[in-house]
């Protein structure tokens, strides 16, 4: 996990003020409270209170009669019972009764409850639902745990979002019967200065999508040769269109002329009709189509003199990027 995703690395920064505060507004008390609290009835004895507090380490127990909250009995109340040696008295005699209770509503924001805890300095709030039934207890500890959990949720959601935005997950995030990505480039005739730009960008895209380096290299080399061909040989340049699918990459270079009079000859190693300028740039050795053939899984050339040429290069996606069947 990188620093960027680390919960704690970000907590000390602007998060503390903004996100954390926002969360205390957004979070409802019901999300962070301890639900279904342990209760006693007002007819139980203070001796029961002593036992429950000792066994369960409670410092306050809500008192409920017939489903209705009637009060709370705390350690302080128990101490008074000790002083008066009245452990056999019912809770009713010592408890803090309903009208003095400090409560929180289940659908209140945590922020309000936190404020009440601060102002009244009580250790816990009793949480009531809309029907004024006791549904839980809320301490500062509950709030802290709840906030941390909410923060964690928020961050894992954010991380999930980022993960989906990451190109590696690109295709998984897009659902259709057949999903593909199309990258289209206009290539200008004799534009040697930009030669290879499109191929480099296609290569970068493939690598970012998680293609094996060898696959990216094969596609890049063949596309580069095709791109250079468009620059060297065409009258008006042409287009380079890469269609990327999860299992297959197709790159098409098409132009509007002049067309190849003899494809058989053009595919032969060493045959070239390139200009002196092309040769100066290190091309025109008659190796372009030969090299493309070597890098592709499938190479299809359609051409007609005076009409144009369409070179279709197909690459199967393999795990190690090597040519399929090799």
């Amino acid at each position: 996990m990188s620093q960027e995703f680390s919960l704690f690395a970000r907590m000390g920064k602007d998060l503390q003020a903004s996100v954390l505060q926002e969360l205390t507004f957004e979070l409802k008390v019901s999300r962070v409270m301890t639900p279904g609290p342990y209760t006693l009835s007002s007819q139980h004895l203070m001796d029961d209170v002593k036992n429950v507090m000792r066994e369960r380490r409670f410092s306050g127990i809500p008192v409920v009669d017939a489903g209705e909250l009637v009060g709370i009995v705390s350690v302080q109340d128990l101490m008074r019972a000790f002083e008066e040696q009245a452990l056999d008295a019912p809770i009713k005699r010592f408890m803090t009764s309903k009208e003095h209770l400090i409560i929180a509503m289940a659908d209140e924001p945590v922020f309000e409850a936190l404020k009440r805890l601060e102002q009244t300095r009580v250790g816990r709030l009793l949480v009531l639902n809309a029907e004024h039934q006791l549904v839980g207890m809320l301490t500062k500890g509950d709030i802290m745990v709840g906030l941390l959990r909410a923060l964690e949720d928020a961050f894992s959601r954010e991380e999930e979002q980022r993960r989906q935005q990451h190109p590696r997950r690109f295709f998984e995030a897009l659902v259709s019967d057949e999903t593909s990505l199309l990258m289209r480039y206009r290539i200008h005739a004799n534009d040697f200065a930009s030669g290879g730009k499109a191929s480099a960008q296609i290569k970068q895209a493939l690598l970012q999508m998680g293609a094996a380096p060898q696959l990216a290299r094969r596609v890049a080399i063949a596309t580069y040769e095709a791109e250079i061909n468009l620059i060297i040989h065409t009258t008006d340049g042409g287009y380079l269109v890469a269609e990327i699918r999860p299992e297959r990459i197709t790159v098409v270079a098409h132009d509007t002329g002049p067309g190849i009079p003899n494809v058989e000859l053009a595919r032969r190693a060493g045959y070239s009709t390139a200009s002196p300028l092309a040769r100066e740039m290190g091309f025109g050795a008659g190796m372009g189509l030969v090299n493309i053939d070597r890098c592709t899984d499938e190479l299809n050339i359609w051409t007609a003199v005076g009409v144009g040429t369409r070179v279709e290069m197909v690459f199967n996606v393999t795990e190690d990027g090597a040519k399929a069947g090799k």
Binding site: F192, A193, G195, G196, K197, S199, A200, K203, P213, R217, A220, I221, Y224, E225, I228, R268, A269, G270, Y271, E280, M281, G282, F283, A285, M287, G288, V290, N291, R294
Partner: protein, 121 residues
């Protein structure tokens, strides 16, 4: 062979350090980019007399980490900027292609080895 060792063996100059401290394992020399594209491999040194930006593109496409220009032909600022951006190392040797290759070969840099002789036409 590391970049500084290549520079030392050819009495050359390092113009751009490669983005990663690569240990080049073989070299290929040509002025034809298509020839280089046929034989290119990762971790292979490109030795060439051409100094146009297509040399950088060729290296970029085929994952070649370092280019060694020969006979003291200093490449343009544009090429240097491209190399820096992509992370390709650029070296300059004052010797000719033949002598630069000889010096590197003597220093122990291997090439492609013996290739089958093919009938071209």
């Amino acid at each position: 062979m590391k970049v500084d060792e290549i520079a030392k063996a050819t009495d050359g100059e390092i113009l751009v350090l490669p983005a990663v401290d690569v240990d080049v394992d073989r070299a290929f020399a040509a002025d034809l980019m298509s020839d280089i594209l046929v034989f290119a491999q990762p971790k292979m040194l490109m030795i060439t007399g051409l100094t146009n930006p297509q040399t950088i593109r060729t290296a970029e496409m085929s994952d070649m980490p370092v280019i060694l220009f020969v006979r003291g032909k200093r490449p343009s600022e544009t090429l240097i900027a491209m190399a820096e951006e992509i992370g390709i190392g650029v070296l300059l040797s004052p010797y000719t292609m033949y002598e630069t290759c000889g010096l590197l070969y003597r220093a122990g840099m291997p090439g492609m080895g013996k290739l089958p002789i093919v009938q071209q036409n």
